[in-house]
Amino acid sequence: MRCTGFIAGFAAAASVLAAPARSQELVVAIFGGSFADNAKICHVAPFEKATGAKVVFVFGSSPENIGRLRATKGRPEIDVAYMDRQIVIQAKAEGLLDELSTANVKNIKDLYPIAIDEDRRWVAFMFSGTAIAYNPQKVKTPPTSWADLWAPEYKGKIAISDVSYSAGMHFLIAASRLNGGSVENIDPGFEAIKRLRPGIVTFYTQADQVVTLIERGDIIVAPWYVDRVGAAAAKGIPVALAFPKEGTIGITPTASVPLGSKRKELAEKYIDVLLSPEGQKCYAERQYAGPTNKLVELPEAIAKMVPYKENIDTIFFPDAGYIAKTLPTWADRWAREIVR
């Protein structure tokens, strides 16, 4: 049968159909959940009011967002991409990101230096971190150190994150530093977690699993994200935050504009709102996001719950570039030595 012509015809027709219908909208790839809900209130609303443009959200995790950029390299369908630091570094190395102009992103000058990429391919719009979440109804003396998690009273009552998520790799780093190791010399971390392994209830792969685990009483303690603890506690979940004395491990979600975006200027204006003192204050109050803009002043109640001002100096920010390169090795070891 002479079907070749048909196939070619269909392939052509399909490629025409696949071409996206474009309109004058700003497409933003953002993390889902309360993250996006609060971004709508704090960032999208003022942006739309100021520019008259319309923001469309596409939801995805950092790896999903870099996947989108990779698949559409040079002709992206999104204009602003949210990614965590160790992922955005990889996106930059792959040449997927455009340089931000200081003329459009005016607030860049007020950021802490650690929040800006040296080539201005990304900016961090919030500080968060991995600290210790515990159930204050069940834990009498709150933990004060990462070392406390190895205490016998938490045996069979602790969950930790899988290593490929921030909370997991950060706990590994914390465990390593605690036992004479470092990010580069991670062996002590693996040894320590192996010791903890028999008492670990589960390895969570979604941050909000911790909510269920604590509510059901399966666990009473877990390394978890600072901002999530604040949001969960505000909803009435019995969970409180302990900042370990060795320091929380820092997380810096970033925003960037993909190379080839047709609405770069508009995208930069959106990012400028993310960095503005008003936008960051609102996000700190609603999402427990530590501000990266030096000018933000927070009420005391919120200031205690987020990485803020002099607190930021105590946060340990691991070398995200090194982690991006090394994480696959860690994940491999983790699969073989810890969870197998």
């Binding site: 049968m1 990889q90 399966d218």
Partner: protein
């Protein structure tokens, strides 16, 4: 008179919907993935240029990967076997019964398919968890002291996947058994065969096509299932599909993920081939 004959293109016309679907949904991603799977990958830098077979080499030389591939195949075969053993009597009954409840009973088989997969899997999590229904019951009865581990291991996946894919097996078998004329079974009985012998020598061999297509369907669905293994297996109990997911979406290593995906495809194609050959032998016995 020639004009009355259907044109040679008519076949293409009839095939075109499925051709379109195959080209767009199957061959295009394969064509994209094949070159990616032989590219080197440097973490932190990205997908490099050049050619390498390392991703395939690691899959077949590393004991860790071989264990996961082996476990995936074993899981597929076990689920297929269980759904066949559990599903055949059900399908036979539904295909042969004269009961006026028949349609309702068939609906009962289909009913689980109407529920969202995630919801069904969460149901199993509630049942199998350390503090779930089964363990609570056994502990309340005093039969066990510590909860039995039913989740995040082979048992959990086996139970969950068998339940989820059973309807596919039953429905496929029902169709095959319904197509066997009852007269053949009657003839065997008339000629002196016992009920069991008639079932064994007539019904089962004639339903082999149904058994084969049901088994292929369930096997392929099982080893490519992602949601249930992710939820019931967790990060501690990996199968090939979850490993591929991790390579793509967590480690960003598309080349290794693509190589694994091709390995999975190879496993599927090989198993289908073997099953078909076995069935042909069985059929001509």
């Amino acid at each position: 008179m020639r004009g009355a004959q259907p044109s040679r293109w008519a076949g293409c016309g009839l095939l075109s919907p499925v051709l379109l679907l195959l080209v767009v949904a199957f061959f295009a991603p394969l064509a994209f993935m094949a070159p990616v799977s032989v590219r080197p990958y440097r973490p932190g830098v990205g997908i490099g240029e050049g050619f390498t077979g390392e991703h395939y080499a690691r899959l077949v030389s590393d004991a860790f990967y071989l264990e996961i591939i082996g476990r995936t195949v074993l899981l597929g075969l076990s689920v297929t076997f269980l759904t066949l053993v559990i599903g055949y009597p059900v399908a036979y009954f539904l295909a042969r019964t004269q009961s006026r409840w028949r349609h309702w009973l068939t609906l009962l088989v289909v009913f689980p398919l109407l529920l969202n997969l995630v919801v069904r899997t969460f149901g199993w999590m509630a049942i199998l968890a350390n503090r779930g229904l089964v363990n609570d019951l056994l502990m309340a009865l005093g039969w066990i002291e510590q909860p039995v581990k039913l989740m995040f291991n082979f048992t959990g996946l086996l139970i969950g996947l068998t339940h989820i894919f059973l309807p596919y097996m039953v429905l496929t078998l029902m169709g095959a058994i319904q197509n066997i004329p009852r007269d053949l079974e009657h003839a065997a009985r008339v000629l002196g065969s016992g009920r069991l012998a008639a079932f064994r020598d007539v019904t089962v061999p004639l339903s082999v096509p149904g058994i084969v297509s049901g088994s292929i369907l369930v096997f392929v669905l099982t080893i490519t299932a992602l949601v249930t293994p992710r939820l019931l297996g967790g990060p501690t109990y990996q199968v090939m599909s979850t490993m591929i997911y991790d390579q793509f979406l967590r480690l960003l290593n598309w080349p290794a993920g693509s190589a694994m995906a091709f390995m999975l495809t190879l496993v599927v194609v090989a198993t289908i081939g073997l099953l078909n050959r076995a069935a042909r032998r069985w059929g001509v016995r």
